[in-house]
Amino acid sequence: MPHMGNDLVIEATGLTKRYREVMAVDAIDLAVRRGETFGLLGPNGAGKTTTILMLLGLTDTTAGRVRVLGFDPARQPLQVKRRVGYMPDSVGFYDNLTARENLRYTARLAGVPREDVDRRIDAALARVDLTAVADRRTGTFSHGMRRRLGLAEIVLKKAEIAILDEPTSGLDPQATHEILTMIHELKTSGVAVLLSSHLLDQVQRICDRVALFNRGKIALLGTVPELAQKVLGGGHTTVVEAQGANLPTILADIPGARRVIPGEDGVFRVLADRDLRSDVAQRVTAAGGRLLRLNVEEPSLDAIYRSYFESARRAA
């Protein structure tokens, strides 16, 4: 096995794609670990889908080295595609065939042993909760059902890596929740998930690490708290609401507080490198104030994203 003794399932170094004059992907480095959920973020046209297609060997690389499970997607695409499941952006099926027939075609293309096909299809359909509509034509399926059928295809293949391009775009909240739950189930069953999205709160909810794309380059890469540290400076945001105390001066006096941001209705936010909750509680009570609210805000990917692109625009 080429990928033994190595916990990286996807490795890319200097990956580049140029369409004539346009640099779609500009020398990115990327590594996805076994069993990890990795998110590709960024505005449309930043190079996320092109990167995905290069990882699958569906488009040629201009330069760089890629290994997926130890195989080169450009030279050994069949080996890669046998082990990797892919759900494209707005996935489509043959509308005149039923869900089961669509999966049977995939199973045959994927080379699933004949005697296993029916059993695996039933299991995959049950896994994504489509058993009841298995014999309905996919032409009647909603967006959410199509996405679920796309996930069933990945389950059916017994893929080691699932690559999902915009898995939740254009879905209603209920369908989004279902898809995210199913993606999480994939992850817990040991599948490495690489997904692209511009819906940040969802990515934050399910991804272990993220890469932020900007104009063909990876601008930031790491866990969400790491990115918050890098972009927002302070890693911790403490939210305070109190009565009967001069909050701005009290908060600014706390050692380690970097910035105090007044909000509406007497709510203040304090940025700091560490957790300030005990200090705040102590000082507000000491000043005779009544503490109404005190909590730590998780750094939001949304804030990181907007802050990054604002500073990038200012720098440009």
Binding site: T49, T50, L53, L56, L58, T59, A74, R75, Q76, P77, L78, Q79, K81, R82, V84, G85, Y86, M87, P88, S90, V91, G92, F93, Y94, D95, N96, Y105, T106, R108, L109, A110, G111, G150, E153
Partner: protein, 331 residues
């Protein structure tokens, strides 16, 4: 040492795995789709109705001619009576239509249904997808043509009461093979348009345009172009084209698969056909007019046409293949 490095790198630069992986899966799926599609049913009925009408009129004529003709059965295919063309004339016209009908959306429909990237993400090469689709459509046409051919032979047996001779059967089979090669050319062309144009309507329109150009306009152009390019006194004075003009006319006409098919049919189903080009009086010295050629000689006569048809199909398919390989997967 650079030489050792080069040799050790060479095998790695080649892509691994068979291009035929998944071919049978694609073929079976597309074949089933064609056989059950409404489109195929319409085309089949069209060919069947026209075919039966043409053969029926031929039978009417044959009965009055009486059974002196040694190739009575072949007449079933070639006899025509106004306003209907003969059965083969009809096929020359309808086979391209059926091929275009089956091929014009082979590739672009996968993009429009957004199934292309999903299918290509399975462990197959693009070769298998394209070739599987081509073979499935060709097999569909082969099945329908063979059924039609048997139907006509059966009809002839019933109505004429004369069994076909061995030679007639062999000639009929060559005719069937030629029809299939002719269908393959048009199928390859239709799939080519389906690769080049993302819109199925544009692709169909282009394929149909080419079909009309080659079947209606080209025979006329092949006649006029030599007169314009090679002006000549005899033509101006007596209205008789020169040998050069005629030869150019034949060459031009044979660029169209319709002409090639027509010539094969003529030589195969009319055994008395001795030549498909110019014949000078001195070449006919000693020939007994109207005597049929043996089968092997007829086959020799159409061999260039038959190979040209097959070569054209392979050439157009290769161009399509290259175009498809270079296409980006993302819609």
């Amino acid at each position: 040492m650079p030489s050792i490095e080069a040799t050790s790198k060479a095998p790695a630069a080649r892509r691994e795995g068979s291009p035929w992986t998944g071919l049978s899966a694609v073929f079976l799926k597309e074949f089933a789709d064609h056989l059950s599609s409404a489109r195929m049913r319409v085309l089949e009925w069209l060919v069947l109705l026209f075919g039966i009408a043409a053969v029926y009129t031929a039978i009417q004529d044959l009965r009055s001619v009486a059974a002196q003709d040694p190739f009575l059965f072949l007449r079933l295919f070639t006899l025509s009576r106004d306003p209907l063309p003969s059965f083969v004339g009809l096929l020359a016209f309808l086979i391209p239509l059926v091929s275009i009908g089956l091929g014009f959306d082979a590739i672009n429909s996968e993009f429009n249904r957004r199934t292309m990237s999903r299918v290509l993400a399975q462990p197959i090469y693009r070769d298998a997808l394209l070739f599987g689709k081509f073979l499935a459509a060709l097999a569909t046409i082969a099945v329908s043509l063979a059924a039609l051919w048997l139907l006509i032979v059966g009809l002839g047996l019933l109505v004429l009461g004369v069994p076909p001779s061995g030679e007639e059967v062999v000639r009929g089979i060559v005719f069937l093979i030629a029809s299939l090669a002719y269908a393959a050319v048009w199928l390859a062309a239709a799939i080519f348009f389906s690769v080049v144009f993302r819109s199925a309507a544009t692709s169909a329109l282009c394929a149909l345009g080419l079909w009309l150009l080659l079947s209606l306009l080209w025979p006329m152009l092949a006649q006029f172009i030599p007169q314009a390019v090679l002006p000549n006194d005899t033509m101006i004075l007596f209205g008789i084209p020169s040998v050069e003009q005629l030869e150019m006319q034949f060459t031009l006409a044979r660029l169209s698969p319709n002409t090639l098919f027509g010539e094969i049919v003529q030589a195969m189903l009319n055994p008395s056909t001795r030549s498909l080009g110019l014949v000078f009086p001195q070449q006919l010295v000693g020939a007994v007019r109207g005597t049929p050629l043996p089968f092997t000689q007829s086959l020799l006569l159409v061999w260039p046409q038959l190979t040209a048809l097959i070569a054209a199909a392979i050439l157009i398919f290769s161009i399509t293949y290259v175009a498809f390989q270079r296409q980006e997967v993302r819609a």
